[in-house]
Each structure stands twice: as C-alpha cells, then as structure tokens.
Symmetry: C2
Subunit: 340 residues, 2 copies
DNA sequence: TCATTTTTTGCACAGGTGTGCAATGATGCT
DNA sequence: AGCATCATTGCACACCTGTGCAAAAAATGA
C-alpha cells in the first residue's frame, strides 16, 4: 500500500535547515498574520523556492481542525442549471481561498456518504443542492462547527442555514402571465422528482389558477429532463383537449415540450401555444427557444454563500430561510399583451 | 482564528476508551486489510457508532502521504461538454472511493495555482482538462508520486499521462461528409481559443480539403460559445459568397450557427446548408438541432481514468498519448447520401 | 549609555492517525 | 500434554504543522 518513490515531499524542517533558521520561522512565514522579520522571511522563501516546498495542508488542517475545504453535494451536475450553479460557487469559493470538493449524489444514501466525507475531511462547510441529508450526521457536523447550507430544500433542522428562491411568487406570476395572454386550457408540466421547489411551484400555480376559477391540470410523466418535457407534450397534444398554455417547471422541460409541440404537432409559439419556463438556463435565450422564464439568481446566491463562509455575514438562523427573488425574463414564448 | 465550539470531533482514543481496547485496535478496525479479531472489531464499531466517530482523513493522509483526493482542473465548467465530463469523472472516481476536488480555472495562472493546491493537499492525481500547467510544478508532482493526467492537451513532459481523442481523423471525415453531400463553399467555424484539439481539427480539416482541390475557409471570431457561432453565421451570410457547408468545431458553435442561419437568414438545413458539429452534447440531439456530429466518448475516458487511478492499469507513458476514437453520429443536419 | 518597550526567535508540545515490533493469547498437531 | 504456528494486541514512534511561552534581540526614549 505504501508508495515507493525515490524522493519524498519536502518538509518545513528541510527548508529551515537550508535557510539556517528554526522550523517555527518557516511555519510563521507561511502563516498569515504571524510575526517574522523581513530578513528571515526572505531567507525562508528563497530556501523554500529552491527546494520546492509546499505547506502540507493536511497537517495544517489537523492542527486547526478545519481544512478550508467546502463540500458541494449535488445530483445531475451535467444539467445546465446545476453546472452553472457549481461554476459560480467554485469561483466564489476560490476567491476566498476555499477549496471545492464535489460529491455527485444520485440517491439520498449518497448524500449521507457525502456528509460523512465532509466530516472525515474536516471540511468547513457542506452545501447541499440535492437530496435529503441525514439528521444525525447533520448534527455531528453542526456540533463540530461545520456549517451546513441547503439550497432550495426543505429546512429540516435548526442550525442548518437555508437558502431558497421565491418559488411561490413566481409560480403565481406565471399563471397570470398565461391568463393575461388569453390561454384557456392551462397545464403545469412538472416531473416525478418531487423536489421541494418543484412541489412549491406546482402547488402555488394550481392554487392560483383555482382561485381565479380556472382548472389547470398537472402532468408528471418522468424525471426532470428534456425527454420528459418532450414526452409530456406528446401525450397532451395527441389526447383530446390539448393545452394552449403551459407552465413548465424547469427550462429543460420547456425545451423538450416546445420542440415536440412545434415539430411533431405543428404548434406555433406563441400564437397557438404559450410556454413559460423556470431557471433561465443558457438554452432559453437561444433563438430556437426564446423562452420566457424566471431567472434564478444563482450568481447572487453564490456570492451570498461566499460572504457567509468568509464570515463577513452572520449565519442567518432562526428567522427562516434567506429568500432570493426570481425575476421574470420576457422573451417570445408568451403572447405580448401578457406583459403588464 | 481558532473556533469556539463546545464539543470537538471525537477521536480514536475516545472510542478505544469506551470499547475497552487500545487505540491501535480502533485504527485497525477502520484500516482495510489490518488484523483485528471479529470480537474487538464489533466492540469498536459499536462504540464508534454511539460516539459518532469518523476517521480523520487529514491525519490518515498525513501518515500515508496521500489523501485519496483527485484534483480536476477545468475552465468553463458550466459548458455542456465540460459538465458532462466532470459528471462522468466524479461518478467514476467515487466508485473507487476517491474524492473529487474541482478547480475552476480561467487562465493559465490558475492552473498553476491548482497544481500547487494538488501538492498542498497531497492529492493522488491531477486531471487537467484546460490550460497549460507549469512545468516545474508538474515535476514536483511527479517526483512525489502524484500523477498528472492531461486530456486533449499537448503532451508537455515525460511522466505526464496523456489522453486524446482522434481529432484529425474525425476532422478529415467531416470534410468528406460535406464533400459527399455536394457542398461547394465550405467553411470551418472555430474559435480564438487556440486549444490543442481545436487546432488539430482546424488543420486536418483544411488540409484534407486542400488535398481534394477545395479551398475551405477558416473563421474565428470569438471564444468557443453559442454567441460566437451565431456571430460567425451573421458575418458569413451577410457577406458575399455565403457557405453551403460548415464544420463547426464544437456543437456549441454549431447551435449558434444553425440558429442564426435558420432564423435570421432563412437557410433550410440540410437543404440549403449542411452543418457538422463536434462533441455530441445533449443539445445536439434536441429536435431543434438534430445535429450530425462526432461523439467524444467521455464516459469511456472517465472509466479509463478510473482504471488508471485504481492502478488496475499501468500508467501508459512513453508510447505516446492514449487515443480514444470519436465516432460520427448521423442525424439530420447533413443531406442524406453523404452517409457512406 | 542605560532602561524600557516592542519585535523576533526557538523550544517544546499537541493534534489524530498508521504501523513495526515484541509480547500475548489462541489454535492445531502429534 | 507439549510444542509449534499463527492471529491478535498494545506500546511507542513517526508524519508535519501551528502556537504559547519564555528568552533573546532589536528598537525606542531620555
């Protein structure tokens, strides 16, 4: 199991010997805020460079009981929405000299494993983007000063910092957009994933429709994907009573839905069919779609998380989740006149 | 700087005390292949569970001089291609119980930082997907038994394991596809990025055209993105002598190119214009595009990398880079009859 | 120059783990 | 039973770093 390498990593002791100072001096040179004279510092740096010394972050973390690692747990990270989020997060975290560990979780059990990993590596924090973490493990994390931040999930436990997006407001707004556009047969295209944010959007949309005397229907035929959106359209437009307005709970669903409506059933958008999405992924702005949607401010959220973790912001516990607004992005998939 | 937490992480010593065994027994219980009797093992596990013990991977890594961390360096990780690759990699690495560290690098300097990070965290390996790593740092990595694997990059140094895709073969094939489809005015749509794989495709494509007496032109108007593809199309179709066949060196470029050609210039695909892409991202199969393209076998590459790092495969050094074939995916953006 | 304050430096310890070595206990064989 | 073999266990050391403490050096003031 042990490696067989000729040379080994160079340690602070070796640097100290070469520079003719104590090992403490070396340590202090590379520790922010420690007291070293400019003379010794330069001697140390010179020796370190010539030897190729790099601080062993493992040993440092062992002392400090934290490792500057932040663990991101997410599923389907190849998805436009998730990958944009992770991109923003990694950049912001790097800006405060944190290191990003990504755990690709499909099921809840892997979220469990991820949290265990967080503990084993003494990470500073865990960001949960998907799945439901295990309560006992969360408690262990929190007890040891590790932070747990969940995004667009149900808040499960005190001590967990929660960030959500204004799903309900947006969903209600979506109904009114379709309503104002003159749609009569309205459908909500969702998935079987049952994610908290999906459920929130479904409920708010259907409720708002009902409150205005319109019976909107809900369709869930598969997971949250392009294919599901496509298949949903196929079922709806080949049945009796096809819709003339659709709120797709995800842009990805919307893309599949639009493609099939247009190419397989000849629907013109927005003349025959109005479509609204959610997320504002890159593809929504592509001119094949031009999708009117709601933008999730992932960059703002990433900045907020950075500020949280650089302790420039106090953890906002107790007073409920931090809410970020989703603003509508008007494009061409809804008839004009719907815009207020 | 020091944290103020009531409790602290539970150590192996505490578990040992509770279980009534020595700390060594605890260590051996959680070390694969160590010798412990079933009796003590179960006592230890019981105690560990009740205390919430988790091995400190930092201390373990300090001893072993490796941390089971694999560092992935990549730019533009929100891109469909990159995110799919990272998704595959993280899954395969997790399968062999490695932990993924993602470094989001925009410039070469950040690749440098990433490599330094690899060293500081005593990572097992670094995967470089973008940018040019620093020679001296690579040497330090290699000297200490850390592996460096570059994908679709120029091989820079011995000891670095290199994986590439058959860019040239595919590019030549792309020309013939357009040629057989009867295109006369052929253009290669690339970007200013100047990535090794882009350059390889450009050169091979243009050379093959020249060898067959056709003067294909090369267009590079921006970075590798949808917008660049769109802008390229705008320039080409508003100028004199618009093309009737395009090899877009990236599917993302192709999407932008197709959208503008169709929606702003009324070109029918494939009747008026044949388009070929590269990568086979998800969007290429969406029915708005139906793009004929070349598939990069990212899953196969990820599996290969897993096998390399689980030392089931010998590092293939010396005899040049490992090549993975890119196979054409026939869809509808090239006139039929081009298919052999 | 000398006394006083401030900065710098080295020592030694702590942090949690893996493992070689020797001792102990268990098991098998005759 | 007696001996040999083998698995198990505990001790002590090593891995590399940060930091409190006291001593030394430097800077400051008169």
């Amino acid at each position: 199991m042990k490696k067989k390498t000729g040379t080994s990593f160079v340690s602070a002791q070796q640097v100290a010997d070469l520079a003719g100072v104590s090992r403490s001096a070396v340590s202090r040179t590379f520790t922010k805020g420690a007291s070293v004279s400019p003379t010794t510092r330069s001697k140390v740096i010179k020796a370190a460079d010539s030897l190729g010394y790099h601080v062993n972050e493992l040993a440092r973390g062992l002392i400090n009981e934290q490792s500057n690692i932040v663990c991101i747990v997410g599923a389907d990270i190849y998805t436009p929405y998730q990958s944009r989020f992770i991109d923003a997060l990694t950049r912001e975290l790097q800006a405060i000299h944190k290191v990003t560990m990504v755990v690709n979780s499909s099921g809840d059990s892997e979220v469990r494993d991820a949290l265990a990993q967080t503990i084993r590596y003494r990470a500073d924090a865990t960001l949960v983007l998907s799945g439901q973490p295990d309560d006992a493990l969360i408690q262990t994390c929190l007890n040891n000063g590790q932070r747990v931040i969940v995004v667009n999930r149900d808040k499960m436990q005190s001590g967990v910092e929660s960030i959500v997006v204004t799903n309900r407001v947006a969903a209600r707004e979506a109904f009114h957009m379709l309503h104002r556009a003159g749609c009569h047969n309205i459908v909500a295209v969702s998935s079987k994933a049952g994610t908290p944010s999906l459920v929130a959007r479904e409920q708010a949309f259907l409720q708002e429709a009902k409150d205005h005397g319109i019976e909107a229907t809900l369709k869930t035929v598969g997971m949250t994907s392009y294919e599901t959106g496509a298949e949903t359209a196929r079922q709806l437009f080949s049945g009796s009573n096809p819709p003339d307005g659709a709120f797709c709970l995800t842009d990805l669903l919307a893309c599949g839905f639009m493609d099939v409506a247009r190419h397989e059933f000849g629907r013109r958008i927005p003349e025959d069919l109005c479509v609204i999405g959610f997320d504002d992924i890159d593809q929504s702005s592509w001119s094949s779609y031009n999708l009117t949607t709601f933008r999730q401010p992932v960059e703002d959220i990433a900045v907020h998380i950075r500020d949280l973790l650089s302790s420039r912001l106090d953890p906002d516990l107790g007073e409920g989740p931090t809410r970020f607004p989703t603003e509508p992005v008007w494009r061409q998939s809804v008839r004009m006149g719907a815009k207020p």
